[in-house]
């Protein structure tokens, strides 16, 4: 992508954000209040971190449907470790390790043993949810949470930013460095574009696919740490709400910027959070939000489809589709 087209796309994105924000602000001026923007950013952090991990999997042209289940298991593992009195760092480390390990397992099954990605990850996700019941027979865990310092992750500030948002930015920076500035990023994109050509070019395609799934699992569990910190309890269904927003964010971003990337995913997450937050503020019942996210997801995958985006580009000089 040349600089000019990137610039045009960023402008288009800013315009869409302005239009959506403006519409909500007209309905309810509280939309642009400091308090609401901070709430929005915190909401964005949870979904954004999960979507970042998923971005890697989408770049190598695979699917991971296990990360919501994996995130639940990560949440329960971390909650249990805190409840039995382990230090917070160990508890978080345990939760993240769960995500990493299941991600690597997914990757090996799919890259080395050529199992179908969708079915495999549905199964591992189900397995993870099953295991998450072991800690407490399915009841939510919140013992010692207050004492452990976990809640500070949600409430604390870092460089003037809410800590969850700072964590999202940190994760995005690392993701940006890996995917868009390092040799490994090239390998991820090459693997996704044309696996045979990548292999013939000396790219270790299996290792790259495994790494993508590992990063996805890791990010899912990092995002669940943020979610548990904000809700104050770990429960077995914690992760289920991650699935659709993450997919919608990655595909919406890819539709806006022409390909999946870290910046595209951040932009997609921001649009999703803007809309969900706005609808909440307008007191639209929460059960509509799933329908809204799904609609956006379908619009996004439609626009990401090269035939349709090509046709749109011919119709419109700069793209201006306003979602939902």
């Amino acid at each position: 992508m040349t600089r000019t087209t990137l610039f045009i796309r960023i402008l288009a994105f800013a315009a869409i954000v302005a239009v959506i924000a403006g519409l909500f602000w007209l309905q309810n001026p509280a939309f642009l209040s400091t308090g609401n923007i901070r709430a929005l950013m915190r909401h964005m952090s949870v979904n954004g971190v999960a979507a970042l991990g998923l971005t890697f999997v989408i770049v190598v042209r695979h699917f991971d449907l296990s990360f919501p289940g994996v995130a639940s298991l990560g949440a329960m593992t971390m909650g249990w470790l805190i409840a039995i009195g382990q230090p917070l760092s160990l508890a978080i480390g345990g939760g993240l390790a769960v995500g990493l390990l299941i991600g690597i397992f997914n990757g090996i099954a799919i890259a080395r043993f050529k199992l179908p990605d969708i079915v495999t990850t549905i199964a591992t996700g189900g397995l993870a949810i099953g295991f998450s019941y072991f800690y407490s027979n399915g009841t939510s865990i919140s013992r010692n949470f207050f004492m452990s310092g976990l809640l500070d992750i949600n409430d604390g500030r870092f460089l003037g930013l809410d800590r969850p948002f700072a964590i999202l930015l940190g994760a995005a920076l690392v993701g940006l460095l890996i995917l868009n500035a390092s040799r490994f990023g090239r390998a991820f994109y090459a693997t996704g574009e044309n696996r045979t050509a990548a292999w013939y070019s000396g790219v270790p395609v299996s290792a790259i696919v495994i790494a993508a799934f590992a990063l996805c699992g890791l990010c899912a569990c990092l995002s669940i740490v943020l979610l548990v910190a904000s809700s104050g309890a770990a429960n077995v269904s914690a992760g289920t709400q991650l699935l659709m927003p993450a997919f919608a964010a990655v595909y919406l971003g890819a539709a806006l910027f022409g390909r999946p990337s870290v910046l595209a995913t951040l932009a997609g997450t921001m649009l999703m959070s803007l809309m969900l937050n706005g609808f909440t503020l307008l007191a639209i019942p929460y059960y509509y939000s799933d329908a809204i996210v799904s609609t956006v997801l379908i619009l996004a995958i439609t626009c990401f489809d090269p035939r349709i985006s090509g046709a749109l580009r011919r119709l419109l000089p700069t793209r201006k589709e306003t979602p939902a």
Binding site: R183, R186, Y189, A190, E193, N194, A197, Y200, V203
Partner: protein, 500 residues
């Protein structure tokens, strides 16, 4: 009056004249072989006959009546039946069901039942017309390759109106014994008065089965002979197939002697693909291997590059024995493959020139793991200039380039790798003449510092660019690489398997 008469057929694709003023005639009850190298015009003629392409000029008469083809349906109605090179059959259905696929219903309507008995009786009627020994109640999946070919032929002949049968390289996947039974069937069909057009690359088959043959070269018909007459007059078909002028696209050969042996294969064998291949590639010269599609050439190139494992034999690089388990290892050791299918094996078509140029050497493109953007752009620009990329737009995705320029990017990728051995497979397929000359010049330039191996199904190309040549026939090298092989000998060896 001939059954089929084509007069003055012309077909253009843009600036390229695929067929120029071509005449062709076919009699009822003959097997007529169509010969020519890739791109000579055989396929275009067949596609016009089967209604896939429409002719730009000329007339086609069947049994004296002028007909306008131009749609597959029209060809079928005119009695022309085509069997593609790799016929699509449904493995799960029986032979009879495959033959009448899409016509299972005796009556029209969504709910009219599929009548198994009806299909079987229609199949039996077809076998009455063409007495062939085949069990059509077997599932196609369980049939040997030749029976599948026969099912495809019967499928093409399922209509009573079929008078002309076109077979496009039907023997390419058959064993020697299966070939005999296919030929038996063809003789049966001929005896029923069917006219058969038979495309093949294997000249020995022509003398075995055909009555007459027509040779195409560069979009023109250059000869038409009876097989008996050709045998008597000792007409050389290979000579007819090749251009008399090799053209000036090839760079002059160097006068200095070749250098040290860089890359050596000893008795390399992979069951079913190639057997006992030995050669030594030297710095300062180009080694050429000629082989038809299916000769094992592609598999051999992949075995040299670690993409396929040989069963036995050894590879030696700078005198050291090597065994590559992946392309990554081959690249690391200094072997680069310009693969035969650049779209699926060579390039990321959605990515730009810089991405593709640097992909095979990401270590050089980065420092401490991070890409050196400025330097990579400069390197890619220098390489694009060296391979004469047109247009030189480094940010343009590869799909926006012509075939020849895409191939130049693959070569730039190889140059960026700075390998000791370069293997080119079908380097100029889909490449226009201007880009071809540049690609040949680059190969010659590369050979000054590295060993270059060219593998191609284009005999002219191998002969024109390489210093030493050898042919691969059905997986076996015919003779040893030599400077003294003439073009005719090379062609003979490659398409008939005979050392002259």
């Amino acid at each position: 009056m001939s059954l089929l008469e084509m007069r003055g057929i012309e077909k253009r694709f843009g600036d390229v004249r695929a067929l120029a003023d071509v005449d062709f005639e076919l009699e009822a009850g003959e097997i007529h072989a169509l010969l020519g190298v890739n791109g000579a015009g055989k396929s275009t003629l067949i596609k016009i006959l089967s209604g896939v392409y429409s002719k730009d000029r000329g007339s086609i008469r069947i049994a004296g009546d002028e007909i306008a083809l131009g749609a597959p349906r029209a060809a079928i109605e005119a009695g022309i039946a085509v069997v593609q090179q790799h016929p699509e059959l449904v493995g799960d259905l029986t032979g009879a069901e495959n033959i009448f696929l899409g016509q299972e219903h005796a009556r029209a309507g969504l709910f009219s039942p599929v009548n198994a008995r009806d299909i079987r009786s229609r199949a039996a009627r077809l076998l009455d017309r063409f007495p062939i020994d085949i069990d059509l109640d077997r599932r196609v999946e369980d049939m040997p390759a030749v029976d599948r070919e026969i099912v495809a032929i019967l499928h093409a002949l399922r209509l009573d109106s079929a008078r002309i049968l076109i077979l496009d390289e039907p023997t390419s996947t058959l064993t020697e014994r299966e070939k005999e039974s296919l030929f038996g069937m063809m003789r049966t069909l001929r005896a029923q008065g069917l006219a058969i057009i038979y495309i093949t690359h294997h000249l020995d088959e022509v003398f075995e089965i055909a009555d007459r043959f027509t040779v195409f070269r560069g979009g023109r018909r250059v000869a038409m002979h009876g097989v008996a007459e050709a045998r008597q007059a000792a007409i050389s078909i290979p000579n007819l197939m090749l251009d008399s002028v090799a053209g000036e696209v090839f760079p002059p050969r160097p006068t200095h002697a070749a250098g040290d042996i860089v890359f050596e294969a000893r008795g390399l064998t992979r069951q079913g693909d190639f057997q006992d291949v030995s050669f030594a590639a030297r710095r300062g010269e180009i080694l050429g291997i000629f082989g038809l599609v299916g000769s094992g050439l592609d598999e051999l190139s992949k075995a040299l590059f670690g993409a396929l494992r040989p069963d036995s034999g050894s590879l030696h690089l700078h005198g050291q024995q090597v065994a590559f388990r992946s392309p990554a290892q081959a690249l690391k050791a200094g072997v680069f493959l310009v693969p035969g299918d650049r779209r699926t094996e060579g390039l990321s078509m959605q990515e730009n020139v810089i991405f593709n140029t640097t992909l095979a050497n990401l270590g050089r493109a980065s420092l401490g793991g991070f890409l050196r953007f400025g330097r990579n752009r400069r390197d890619a620009a220098a390489l694009a200039a060296r391979v004469d990329l047109q247009p030189r737009k480094l940010d343009r995705p590869l799909r926006g380039y012509s075939g020849g320029n895409q191939q130049k990017v693959v070569i730039a990728k190889g140059l960026y790798r700075e390998a000791d051995v370069y293997i080119f497979v079908e380097p100029t397929v889909g490449v226009d003449i201007g880009a071809r000359a540049k690609i040949y010049a680059l190969m010659r330039e590369l050979s000054e510092k590295a060993a270059v191996i060219v593998m191609s199904s284009d005999c002219n190309e191998v002969f024109g660019i390489a210093d030493r040549t050898v042919a691969l026939y059905k997986g076996a090298p015919i003779g040893v690489p030599s400077r003294d092989t003439t073009r005719d000998h090379l062609l003979h060896a490659g398409i008939m398997g005979e050392a002259v």
